[in-house]
Amino acid sequence: MNASDSTLEIAAESGAGPADSLEQRNRRLMWRLVTLAVLCAGFGFALVPLYDVICRVTGLNGRTNAMAVAAPSNTQVDTTRWVKVEFLSHSMPGVAIQFAPQEFSIDVRPGALAQINYVATNTSDRVFIGRAIPSVTPAVAAPHFKKIECFCFNEQTFQPGETRVMPVVFTVDPDMARELGTVTLSYAFFEAPKAAPKDLM
């Protein structure tokens, strides 16, 4: 004797419901709820690409374009203001690359193309494969910071002792808010992870 027997009895006794017994109704609702749970799990995994899209659109987290964008052809250069662009570099622990921008900052006109060079040297005696991850602050400036050419788009391979000049060609959108006077771009140089990095964009 278990409870589900008694519920069936109740359904029969009280002449309950048209076609469905209580047990059938319970099962149906149960499976609907299981489906809901599975959908929510799917949502959890979908948060990964969703987060990337939101970051890209809002610049949240200082993310900038991860693939080259074409040089804007018809943009008016805004001659009424300067934007100071600062450059930082960061080699993560264990990374053999000595890595620095050639200049700390340059002033640019929004809409104009500008170029800055980073110089990197592999100070170890083995081949190094790495990837530079860019980050822009303030985050609200990130969607307006467009990189046309950047060494961060690809993995970089360095021979032992090799020194290389790595250019970044970029432009700052004229529609970036006027009160943003300074934008800082930094690259964090990581050793390329064993699995292929996710090119999510």
Partner: protein, 531 residues
């Protein structure tokens, strides 16, 4: 246990196994509830003992008792065990025992699922704490040690205690989801004829919405910890910037679960407290519909405010303003609940038996917890509170009165129904006052410590924090002792006491008070008709 010793009416071929097998196989909601509650109290005592070791270390500056790496395991397990091992199983135990009785159903809708839902818990608990105890004995790197929030990339550095914890979280999540499915189906489909949606007890409402939230959020956490496991062992980079990922993604996923989780802890108690107030004021519940609507409001708002836990992570102005204002909005439905509770009390005919004391304690202390939440919601000032002791004090005022006082209020209220005996009122009063004093002496100093600048999750601290830490530790041990009074009182009541009537409390209303005390093994096999 006295709950189990009733005879079975003739006509059933009942031959329940006895001993251990009975408990493993049972599909009876009363048995399962007893197992949930027993499990929960054991977890409460274990996690409580862990935090007493922490507070003992924090009694004075310097490292006296434990090393920092062990300390980090203690605080992590304290949080995880309290939330997933005590608070949720205790509420589920109360729901399991009382929901069928309150809605006039013979059992939960899915009794075998009910059994599975419970029996996942003990292995999950073992998985969580085994690495910790093994580490104590010198085997392995110890238990999970990242704080219950398991932030990346710190979580990548932990030993296999983290992997065990991930599996444990999966199991705990599945258990919650199964229990939630059971609650929803029971509440929606199994009410006695005549008990419409708008007539069902507030406890049923509270638990229904709790269950809906759980089904929504636990799978998301499962996804998040799965991704962590993949990052740790299978070369993915969800949370690793080097591979195009982002550590802050983990924070979003975790808090998307973590914030509604606190309303999961609140809503069962918010549904339970009106019953107790009504009973001990001999007055009908004020604003039944308003309370239901408020619960809806809390349920919807709870899933859209999560990033107020992340104000210092570097969020845009727009994001901070949105999460600040939306978080403040939750104060409105909460205020409705408080208003209705107080209005239920107002001009009642009041007595102050133990369940009523704990219900009142919950209202007052949780009220302070909610008010300090409003302060934390201010995104600009939040950096001064975040991850400091002000925050720790806030969430303990929000969580302890709710999950502990609330559960104890429910247990004390329904013990006569379960055991057939009235509890020892004097012991109950002692428990309440010792707990109330101990709790406040523990946590009021922590507000002051936070304001003075003490961060959380540190095993040692600068000298200016010494005095309040000492006071807080003394309070913690007093509070800890009060739990022993509770356990003793429960055991005493189970074994004997003044005989309880069917309506054990004079002012108590509801279907559960129409069955004998102790409640028979099977109840409402014929559903009553409700007017």
């Amino acid at each position: 246990m006295s709950v189990a010793t009733t005879t079975h009416p003739g006509g059933h071929e009942a031959h329940h196994p006895s001993g251990l097998l009975r408990w493993i196989q049972t599909t009876n909601h009363k048995d399962i509830a007893v197992m949930y509650l027993t499990f929960a109290v054991i977890m409460l005592l274990i996690a409580g003992a862990m935090i007493l070791v922490v507070r003992a270390e924090l009694f004075q500056p310097g490292l006296q008792i434990v090393q920092p790496e062990f300390f980090n395991q203690l605080i992590t397990l304290h949080g995880l065990i309290m939330v997933f091992g005590f608070a949720m199983p205790a509420a589920t135990g109360l729901a399991n025992y009382m929901l069928p009785l309150m809605i006039g159903a013979p059992d939960m809708a899915l009794p075998r699922l009910n059994n599975w839902g419970f029996w996942i818990l003990p292995p999950a608990a073992v998985m969580l704490v085994l690495p910790f105890f093994l580490g104590l004995g010198g085997v392995g790197a110890g238990g999970i040690d990242t704080g219950w929030t398991i932030y990346a990339p710190l979580s990548m550095q932990s030993g296999w205690g983290m992997d065990f914890a991930i599996f444990s979280v999966h199991m705990l999540g599945v258990s919650s989801i199964l229990a939630s499915i059971n609650v929803i189906v029971t509440v929606l489909n199994m009410r006695a004829p005549g008990m419409t949606f708008w007539k069902m007890p507030l406890f049923a409402h509270g638990f229904l919405y709790t269950a809906i939230i759980l089904i929504t959020i636990m799978p998301v956490l499962a996804g998040g910890v799965t991704m962590l496991l993949l990052d740790r062992h299978f070369g993915t980079n969800f949370y690793n910037a080097a591979g195009g990922g982002d550590p802050v993604l983990w924070q979003h996923i975790f808090w998307f679960m973590g914030h509604p989780e606190v309303y999961v802890l609140l809503l069962p108690i918010a549904g339970l407290v009106p019953h107790i107030l009504s009973a001990f004021t001999r007055k009908p519940t004020y604003g039944y519909k308003a309370q239901v609507y408020s619960m809806w409001g809390i349920m919807f708002l709870s899933v859209i405010v999560w990033a107020h836990h992340m104000f210092t992570s570097g969020m845009s102005v727009g994001g901070q303003l949105y999460f600040m204002y939306s978080t403040m909005a939750i104060s409105l439905p909460l205020a409705v609940l408080f208003f209705c509770w107080i209005a239920t009390i107002w001009r009642g005919s009041l007595t102050f038996e133990t369940p009523m004391l704990f219900a009142i304690g919950f209202i007052v202390l949780f009220g302070w917890g909610g008010l300090t939440g409003l302060v934390l919601a201010d995104a600009a000032a939040d950096p001064q509170y975040h991850n400091a002791y002000f925050l720790v004090a806030h969430f303990h005022y929000a969580l302890y009165p709710t999950t502990v006082f609330g559960a104890m209020a429910g247990i004390y209220y329904w013990l006569p129904k379960w055991t057939g005996h009235m509890l020892d009122e004097r012991l109950g009063q002692w428990h309440f006052w010792v707990a109330l004093i101990g709790f406040n002496v523990t946590f009021i100093p922590q507000f002051l410590l936070g304001l003075a600048g003490m961060p959380r999750r540190i095993p040692d601290y600068p000298l200016m924090f010494a005095d309040w830490n000492m006071v807080s530790t003394v309070g913690a041990f007093v509070l800890g002792a009060s739990h022993l009074i509770f356990v003793w009182n429960v055991i005493k009541c189970v074994r004997g006491g003044k005989k309880a009537e069917a309506r054990a409390w004079e002012g108590a209303e509801g279907l559960e008070w129409t069955v004998p005390s102790p409640a028979p093994y099977h109840t409402f096999e014929t559903q009553p008709a409700v007017k």
